[in-house]
């Protein structure tokens, strides 16, 4: 087991207003989320001395303007003017989970005391994913000429392979979309808070990139979420009950850029990342009381359930049936609604919900008697970051 388990905790969490399109610059959303997280902890902004983010705009073919389409560390520093700032980082791989893990490391190293991590996501005007212009450079030269645009179609061919290889019908995914929407209907921050979704809605929805229909794709939104991390000792003296980090892991899934459709990767990326998390925390999938698994596309949840070890390869579409992932079920899953229903904010919202469940702060969505709360914060077919939060240090 990891000697540093439960030495760092998530304290406050914060949300911005989530809108469909950009009504105010993304920097305003990020600032709103960061202020809310600091307030939730009961801290003053001047207490914050560490900053971390993953700033990428996943939409392709749009201008990158700091403060409008991304919110970099530099942008946040300029807004906050923190008098005691002593550490900051902006990670380039493994998405926002990597930034959270860097903050954990910085706190363990003692180079900062209260770190804030935020994720801002911009929804640009026009088409979200654009093919390259007249010319296709780099890896895109082997995909874009055939009409493969952003990640959607690459994920779609992998999902077709999955369904055919395991003899599964895509209709079974309706259970995931509908269950997550029911959770979102209990989450006032979610984009689809007041919008129900039925099985019929899912089954009748328009196809986007077969086998993905509209409700297999998370909805692009404009918004930000944030968390405050600190050492366990300090966290115990703050307002909210801490969610202790018992272990984490990370792993990029190895695949040459431009090679798409293969499933060889997700078991590697997801199992490597989660194995580190199981080993460091000392838990196994059977110990987990509630799980949040990244769902930018619905199929990522299947890859997560299988590669993290919650079920066998090819079984995830059956695993999610029969109430198993509902609030009273064996493994309540994506209890905040997931990206499919909160909107596309990447994995930090999964991390937030994992922490809220561990600290008993999930309100109407709270799973009973949570001790062990698991989070897979990014798509294992691309990259894996995994976390375990616990209620009590051990």
């Amino acid at each position: 087991m990891w000697e540093n388990r439960c030495q760092v905790a998530v304290s406050g969490v914060g949300f911005s207003t989530i809108t469909r399109s950009a009504e105010v610059p993304l920097a305003a959303h990020a600032l709103q989320a960061v202020k809310a997280a600091v307030d939730d902890s009961g801290l003053d902004m001047a207490d914050i001395d560490g900053l971390a983010t993953y700033a990428e705009l996943p939409a392709s073919g749009h201008a990158i303007v700091d403060g409008i389409s991304i919110v970099s560390v530099n942008c946040m520093m300029a807004m906050l003017k923190l008098p005691n700032l002593s550490w900051h980082v902006q990670v380039e791989t493994v998405n926002i989970g990597g930034a959270v893990q860097q903050a954990v490391n910085a706190l363990l190293a003692g180079v900062c005391t209260y770190a804030v991590v935020w994720r801002g996501m911009h929804n640009p005007r026009g088409t979200y994913q654009n093919l390259p212009g007249t010319y296709a450079q780099g890896a895109a030269q082997f995909t874009a000429p055939y009409g493969f645009g952003g990640p959607g179609q690459g994920m779609a061919v992998a999902y077709t392979r999955y369904l055919e290889r395991h003899h599964q019908p895509r209709e079974k995914m309706a259970t995931l979309a509908v269950t997550q929407r029911q959770y979102a209907n209990k989450n006032s921050h979610a984009y689809f808070y007041k919008t129900p979704l039925t099985r019929e809605d899912y089954l009748n929805s328009r196809m986007v990139a077969y086998p993905f229909c509209l409700y297999d794709c998370d909805i692009p939104v404009q918004g930000a979420v944030a968390i405050v991390l600190t050492t366990a000792e300090r966290a115990r003296h703050l307002k909210p009950r801490p969610a202790y980090i018992a272990g984490y892991g990370q792993r990029l899934a190895f695949e040459v850029a431009g090679r798409i459709g293969s499933l060889s990767n997700y078991m590697e990326g997801g199992s490597s990342s989660s194995r580190l998390t199981w080993e460091r925390s000392g838990f196994t999938p059977k110990d987990v009381d509630v799980a949040q698994i990244y769902d930018g596309f619905s199929a990522s949840v299947l890859y997560g359930l299988e590669s993290y070890g919650f079920c066998q390869e090819g079984e995830a579409l059956d695993f999610i049936q029969d109430g198993r992932i509902e609030l009273e079920g064996e493994l309540p899953l994506n209890t905040f609604g997931g990206s499919l229903s909160t909107g596309r904010i990447h994995g930090l919202w999964h991390i937030i919900e994992g922490a809220l469940q561990a600290s008993g702060r999930a309100g109407e969505r709270q799973v009973k008697d949570v001790q062990v709360s698991f989070v897979g914060a990014s798509a294992p077919i691309v990259q894996g970051t995994t976390f375990i939060f616990v209620k009590e240090p051990y």
Partner: protein, 146 residues
């Protein structure tokens, strides 16, 4: 089900680089050539700096027959890029070649309705000229089956 109308589609044009130039030079001649490891015999695609199987840098482009099976596919219904709108719904496929397991090539399924795309269907390479410099390897259902 009607076939996709590709005549009105303007495709992004590939830009060859140091790794990929021999692939496009061969395609211009109507030949499908893939990176072949001289050390372990592994074929790979897309081209890469090293053999992804054995780390050798002794890689040579060699012709392959271009017959294989559909490894996977997606049918695109959403006109994300208006240049492809005329072809919707169209099948984008991933092909595994008989001689080059592990090398996955993207393409469109030409001369057939998109509903003909199925995992395991036999396909063969055909060549589609984009301009004087670039010819695109594409796929159609294998004639032996048709």
């Amino acid at each position: 089900m009607t076939m996709s109308d590709w005549s009105k589609v303007t495709r992004p044009i590939p830009v060859p680089n140091e790794w990929t130039k021999p692939f496009w030079e061969a395609a211009k001649q109507g030949v499908l050539a893939l990176q072949h490891c001289q050390s372990c015999g592994h074929f790979q695609h897309p081209p890469y700096a090293t053999c992804v199987n054995c780390m050798s840098i002794d890689l040579t482009f060699e012709p392959v027959q271009g017959k294989g099976t559909i490894y996977s596919y997606s049918i695109m219904y959403h006109a994300g890029d208006q240049r492809f709108a005329a072809a919707i719904p169209y099948a984008s496929i991933i092909v595994e070649l008989d001689e080059a397991k592990g090398a996955l090539l993207a393409g469109n399924l030409l001369d057939a309705p998109s509903t003909e795309a199925k995992v395991g269907r036999r396909v063969e390479v055909v060549f589609q000229k984009l301009n004087d410099d670039i010819t695109l390897p594409q796929f159609r259902l294998a004639q032996e089956e048709a």
